[in-house]
Amino acid sequence: MTLILHLILRLALWLLLAPLLPGIINKVKAWVAGRRGPPVLQLYYDLAKLWKKSVVLSQLASPGFVIGPAVGWVALVGAALLMPLGPAGSALSFRGDVLLLIYLLALARFCTAWAAMETGSAFEGMGAAREVSYAVLAEAAIIAAVLSLIVHTGSVSLITMLAPSPGAGAALLAAGLFTVLLAENCRVPFDDPNTHLELTMIHEAMVLDHSGPPLAVILHGASVKLLLFAVLLVQAVLPIGEMTPPAAAGALAAGVLLVTISVGLVESLLARLAFRRVPLLLTTAFLLCVFALLVAWKGDAT
């Protein structure tokens, strides 16, 4: 009984807190630009509005157009439940769960791209092509980051492997994972979540034809993904699992807030990269994670 209660509480935490992050990012951007900006809770309002709207469906699209976002959302929420939250642990933990996490993220991406291709529109095809090409590099960086944690702790279970030691390895990992976070969540300098220019979009181009509840599910899933990466980044750098529950909760919240504000600042002060330069930055993120791996591997031996 307590297990189910625990699960519901954890699910509510993820689902309800996630849409806060884009609101904070937008507030930071507005603050830097000297504007008042939209309310922090704007995404909640948008989701409520979209949920009430009807859906416009193309006659050409197969059921995949709606199934894609649904499966993608479930995959992301499942990944979130695998993610341990400091001393509270995770809802479900087993040996090798980190691999499932990576695959769930890939499944979510596959579903979004699949739904995008269903429309047969040139824009969405372009968006899907861009998304999956850059994902190849971003996934390499995540896998290198995970490997470095595995080598460092000798464990392939998320709950025990997120026990970093301070030092060069943690700094490299933080830089690498932050870059991956920006790329995976379609933030500047990889993508511009605010643009209205179809030809420059990556993620946005894929969801142009979605409307109503499916669009709400996509937007909510994206915010869960952002929160997931922020939590992963904080726990890969700070030894949260060893803290007392109140301290851990505080450190985790502060860490996620800091990551969110950093995303807002990056977005305020940097221009977007040209597409041909995106692989360079992603390769850099991959190399940072590889160096973190080397530090974890050889650094401990000395």
């Binding site: 209205h196 420059t200 305020s268 002060l269 990269l273 597409f275």
Partner: protein, 495 residues
């Protein structure tokens, strides 16, 4: 060069009796025009004048180095004539327009299709025939006429291999309002208002060109005080548009500091125009024979003070822009138009100056107040998005300096004179350097002094081809910054 031309010479904003313009049979006329273009002239206008059942072709050329314009015409003709486009691509769109309006077919034109109208089947411009690149890996991307932003309608058809654009074709005409047709038999009561809205962001330039036409036809010119005010308003219009464009360019690469600042400063500049005449876009200021609103000393002082503030803020915002390596990386070597291409397709204004071509009507063909005071021409080599942004920032500085100088030395006297009636059977030409480039108006009067033909050429008419060329070999994701770096008018072409 121009001293030996068989064409009739005239200065900017002057007129010439229709009968004094030399005429040739069509084939010979095309040949003579080609000869003049080869000798360094530039095609400002090429249009038809109906005469009975037939049509005469008229060419207005500009000899920039000699600061003079030249006009020639053909004998009336029907049917076909040998194309000029074949050897001089700058005539490309003009010949398509003449074919559309008068049915004269340029024999050998490489891509003859309507400029604005639907085809016979009544299809919209986007449904006409487009140039296609064949190949299994080539895909076609159609953008517009309805866009995601609040902008004018126009259709863009890309032929792409992956992310690379092989070819772009632009189909306009969605905003065709029949402005030229409405002018026949004019000027009417609504004419001045229509001229102010040929392209709403170029109100002062189009209004000044039209007013100059009326003054040239009347054989007079506006009082100095009015010429001075028009020059001030023209530069304010330039400042507002250039600042807005730099902000929009920053927005397209998601560089928020400059975007936010420039959006606000553009409004400040527009408000200065409002201080001058009560309208942010300068409507109601310029009228044939002078200006309708004067600038008293108190408001002139206020204008200067607010101008200095806005210019200082612009300087800061533009510096953020140039100092950010991430911005420069997006702009440099993107959307390049080579100088030879620019000269071939006849680019004008800012887009031409960003290719290193020295083309500025204020300097080459000064009329009105620009005969007494000119701002230095801003030129930058390169032809890429960076160059076009750079020319804008240079022009902001120079227009600012120019305004400060001119505000310190106002012309005195009357604001507006009564105009004598327009001369009959006379052709007048007026060029004005709007913020995009050369605004050209040509008017021909009938025996009673009413408009027999009135031709409006917005700089965008010359420059859309430049955008198409800039996209060749560029990534399709860079289209928005290329487009914004030209920022051409749709309604100015559609008329």
């Amino acid at each position: 060069m121009s001293s030996t031309t068989p064409f009739a010479l005239l200065a900017n904003a002057t007129s010439l009796p229709w009968a004094e313009i030399p005429a040739w049979p069509a084939a010979e006329f095309v040949r003579s025009t080609a000869t003049e273009l080869n000798r360094g002239a530039r095609l400002c206008a090429w249009f038809g004048v109906p005469e009975g059942a037939a049509t005469r072709l008229v060419a207005v050329l500009a000899f920039d180095a000699d600061n003079t314009l030249a006009v020639g015409r053909s004998h009336p003709l029907t049917g076909a004539y040998p194309t000029l486009t074949d050897t001089h691509p700058q005539a490309h769109l003009f010949e398509r327009e003449v074919w559309e309006q008068h049915g004269l077919k340029p024999e050998g034109h490489p891509w003859l299709k309507p400029v604005r109208r639907s085809n016979d089947a009544g299809n919209a411009p986007a449904l006409r025939e487009f140039f296609r690149v064949e190949g299994g890996e080539v895909h076609e991307v159609a953008v517009g006429p309805v866009h995601a932003g609040v902008i004018e309608p126009g259709h863009f058809r890309f032929q792409c291999a992956g992310e690379e654009v092989l070819h772009l074709e632009i189909a306009l005409g969605y905003q065709h309002r029949g402005i030229e047709a409405a002018l026949a038999g004019g000027p009417h009561r609504a004419t001045m208002n229509q001229m102010e809205t040929v392209a709403g962001d170029t109100t002062i330039a189009h209004a000044t060109a039209h007013a100059s036409i009326m003054e040239a036809l009347a054989g007079t010119e506006a009082p100095l005080r009015a010429q001075w005010l028009r020059a001030l308003a023209l530069e304010l219009e330039r400042l507002a548009s250039h600042t807005g464009d730099l902000g929009a360019l920053a927005g397209d690469v998601a560089f928020l500091p400059t975007m936010s600042a420039c959006g606000k400063i553009r409004g400040d500049f527009l408000n200065l125009t409002a201080l001058l005449c009560g309208n942010r876009f300068g409507r109601g200021l310029v009228r044939p024979g002078g200006c309708r609103h004067d600038l008293d000393a108190g408001r002139a002082a206020q204008l200067l003070e607010r101008l200095d503030n806005a210019l200082a803020e612009t300087k800061q915002a533009v510096e953020w822009f140039w100092d950010a390596a991430s911005v420069r990386a997006r702009f440099e070597n993107v959307g390049t138009v080579h100088p030879a291409q620019a000269a071939d397709v006849g680019l004008v204004g800012l887009a031409a100056r960003a290719c290193g071509l020295v083309r500025d009507v204020r300097y080459d063909h000064p009329a009105g107040w620009h005969r007494f005071a000119q701002a230095p021409v801003a030129v930058w080599p390169g032809g890429d998005v960076f160059a076009r942004a750079k020319v804008r920032s240079l022009e902001i500085e120079r227009s600012g300096d120019y305004l400060r100088e001119q505000l310190a030395a106002p012309a005195e006297g009357a604001l507006r004179d009564e105009l004598p009636p327009p001369a009959p059977d006379t052709l007048a030409v007026a060029l004005v350097e709007g913020w995009r480039g050369e605004v050209c108006h040509v008017a021909l009067t009938d025996a009673s002094g009413r408009f027999r033909r009135y031709k409006v050429i917005d700089p965008s008419f010359h420059n859309w081809m430049g955008l198409a060329l800039a996209l060749r070999g560029t990534a399709i994701s860079d289209f928005p910054i290329c487009n914004k770096s030209f920022n051409l008018s749709y309604c100015g072409v559609d008329l």
